[in-house]
């Protein structure tokens, strides 16, 4: 005979008594880590600091991640009471603590961007596949992206050469290398497509600079006249003014 219990339709089913639940240390610790990361993404979104790490193309992931992580934290906490909680291993707790370290680093460190230290280590920006076509370079206001694109494609180079002698107005940071003459500096700006890890650099040589007036990392606005010389672009500065670092320090192609 079968051991199955059959209930008559409409019969009242009496549930077995619920076992008492108590907090699972593993699940609570996991919820703390998830919550910390959720907090970080909310922090980035509210303060606008995501611009220091991501391009404008990808910054949408910040609020999405904040919402998902918040939901995951709430769900984890809501399911953190179990019938048979087990203690958490000390090693596991230390690992979870280490997972919160990046959150602490980002929240408590002073806002920073890539600077001149990386300038010599980054590949030059290639604008050949982006909006900076030869047509774009040939007309309208010149941007640093146009200039960088012109430095890396033959068509762009020709289009840029036709703009020689025109006025330009660029904002970037000062990069001075060992071989940079005293009356020059490189005006640089990172071009970020996705996140800072894929940053490439766009830079022009600024000449006719008062020696010693600016140092590495200073953000400046350079107004002057552009002279593309093959793959190098020179800006003869008529006015250089110190400016605050822009809210969006990286360019997005």
């Amino acid at each position: 005979m079968s051991d199955a219990i059959l209930a008559r339709p409409g019969a009242r089913v009496v549930d077995e008594p619920r076992l008492p639940r108590s907090w699972s240390p593993t699940r609570v610790a996991g919820a703390v880590v998830l919550g910390a990361w959720a907090g970080l993404f909310w922090f980035l979104w509210v303060t606008g600091r995501e611009a220091l790490y991501l391009s404008t193309r990808t910054d949408w992931i910040v609020p999405v991640a904040a919402a998902l992580l918040t939901a995951a934290t709430a769900g984890r906490l809501a399911s953190a009471k179990v019938t048979a909680p087990k203690p958490i291993a000390a090693r596991e707790l230390w690992i979870m603590g280490l997972m919160v370290v990046p959150v602490v680093l980002v929240v408590f460190s002073h806002p920073a961007t890539l600077g001149s230290f990386s300038a010599g280590k980054r590949a030059g920006f290639s604008g050949t596949s982006f909006a900076a076509s030869a047509g774009d370079i040939g007309s309208g206001d010149l941007t640093l992206i146009d200039v960088a694109a012109g430095e890396t494609s033959p068509e762009g180079e020709r289009a840029l050469a036709k703009r020689a002698g025109e006025p330009v107005d660029f904002v970037g940071f000062v990069s001075i290398r060992d071989d940079t003459p005293a009356d020059e500096f490189l005006l640089a700006r990172y071009v970020v497509t996705c996140c800072v890890a894929d940053a490439t650099i766009a830079e022009v040589r600024v000449v006719d600079v008062t020696p010693g007036q600016f140092s590495n990392e200073d953000w400046v606005r350079v107004q002057g006249t552009i002279y593309p010389l093959g793959r190098e672009v020179i800006v003869d500065a008529s006015e250089i003014t110190a400016v605050e670092r822009p809210d969006g320090p990286y360019l997005t192609p």
Binding site: L19, S22, T26, G30, A31, V33, W37, L52, Y53, L54, I61, V62, V64, A65, L68, A72, G75, R76, A78, S79, T83, A84, K86, P87, I88, A89, A90, E92, L93, W94, I95, M96, G97, L98, M99, V100, V101, P102, V104, L105, V107, S109, L114, G115, F117, S118, K121, R122, A123, S126, T128, S129, S153, T193, C194, C195, V196, A197, D198, T200
Partner: protein, 340 residues
């Protein structure tokens, strides 16, 4: 009757966390906060560069790990097992290509595909098919195809890069799946102690679906997150100290240039949804080398090797690295000869 906490003083050979451990972890976090806010190590250029790159890698990749964990938890809790068994009824020669093409339906990057593949194996999908899916999804997914198109738009090599990436990515993923062969999930997957722990917790009374969903979601995120952390640390260190110009000197040598770009892809550990833009920026390199970058990077990079090492048993990462490196090199060189 349920066991009480008092009856379970240890977890395997590990020491159980006590109040001192909690205080120690909290003290470490407070110390880090004090050092970075008061000491301001960001004044030192290389430290600042490392922090920014490390932070950006995590901030960009973690949401995708979360999405992957979300998809994996959905698969685990809500998708009937029969869906995966359907792949198994296909003729054997079609199983791996079908698994590779399934990547078209899942817009997940490489960080997210690892937990999904792990879950698929646990749900009964053939390990070789799950591995094929894991490697193919980050290359074949629609977002990656679109970003590759945008990155190479306007160049004569546009369709070589888009089509080559799709086809070569699929072939390399199938090759790795084929080498994995008939190995079982127990031979491939590392046990996750936390998961075994959770199964014990479910004894007595099965947990509600929504609870299981959130438990799996959190476990996968925490499991993958720690390896991503390790990979991001290494990748940020390399990006901070290695000038990319070092590698551009080898661009003119056919085989060396492909190997160099594959190595660079592995070192940079970029997301497959963004790497085409970086590959396109290396204008000194030909299509074969750029293709090597685009196919190899989403399958093998520093953060992925760390993820593989945490997810799979010893030897699996070596298999993936070797087979995908050889297949990518041969395929990219052929593309270079045929279309370069």
């Amino acid at each position: 009757m349920a066991q009480t906490t008092a009856q379970l003083p240890t977890i395997g050979p590990s020491r159980v966390a006590d109040r001192r451990t909690v205080v120690g972890v909290a003290a470490m976090l407070v110390a880090v906060a004090l050092v970075v806010s008061v000491g301001d190590p960001g004044r030192i250029a290389w430290v600042r560069t490392f922090f920014v790159i490390f932070g950006s890698l995590l901030i960009q990749a973690l949401p995708f790990v979360m999405l992957g964990a979300f998809a994996a938890a959905l698969v685990e809790v809500f998708v009937p097992i029969g869906v995966f068994e359907k792949l198994g009824v296909l003729p054997r020669p079609l199983q791996l290509p079908a698994a590779a093409l399934a990547g078209l339906a899942f817009p997940i990057c490489e960080c997210g595909s690892v937990p999904v593949a792990r879950r698929l194996m646990q749900r009964g999908l053939m390990p070789s098919a799950a591995v094929t899916f894991m490697l193919a999804a980050p290359v074949l997914n629609p977002v990656v195809i679109a970003s590759t198109y945008v990155a190479f738009r306007g160049r004569s090599t546009l369709w070589t890069m888009v089509g080559g990436r799709f086809l070569l990515g699929m072939l390399v993923a199938i090759a790795v799946g084929w080498v994995v062969g008939n190995r079982t999930k127990d031979q491939l997957l590392k046990p996750n102690p936390e998961e075994e722990h959770e199964h014990l917790l479910e004894l007595g009374r099965p947990e509600a679906r929504w609870r299981r969903f959130f438990v799996h979601l959190g476990n996968d995120f925490l499991f993958m997150g720690r390896y991503l952390l390790l990979g991001a640390t290494i990748a940020a260190a390399i990006q901070t100290f290695l000038p990319t110009s070092v590698l551009t000197g080898v661009a003119a040598r056919p085989v060396i240039s492909v190997l160099a770009m594959m190595g660079l892809a592995a070192a940079l550990s970029l997301c497959s949804e963004s790497d085409a833009f970086v590959a396109a920026s290396f204008v000194q390199f030909g299509p074969a080398a750029q293709l090597g970058f685009l196919v190899f990077g989403p399958m093998v990079d520093l953060k992925l090797v760390a993820l593989y090492a945490g997810t799979f048993r010893r030897g699996f990462a070596r298999t993936v690295v070797l087979v995908s490196a050889v297949a990518t090199l041969v395929g990219a060189l052929w593309v270079g000869v045929a279309f370069g």
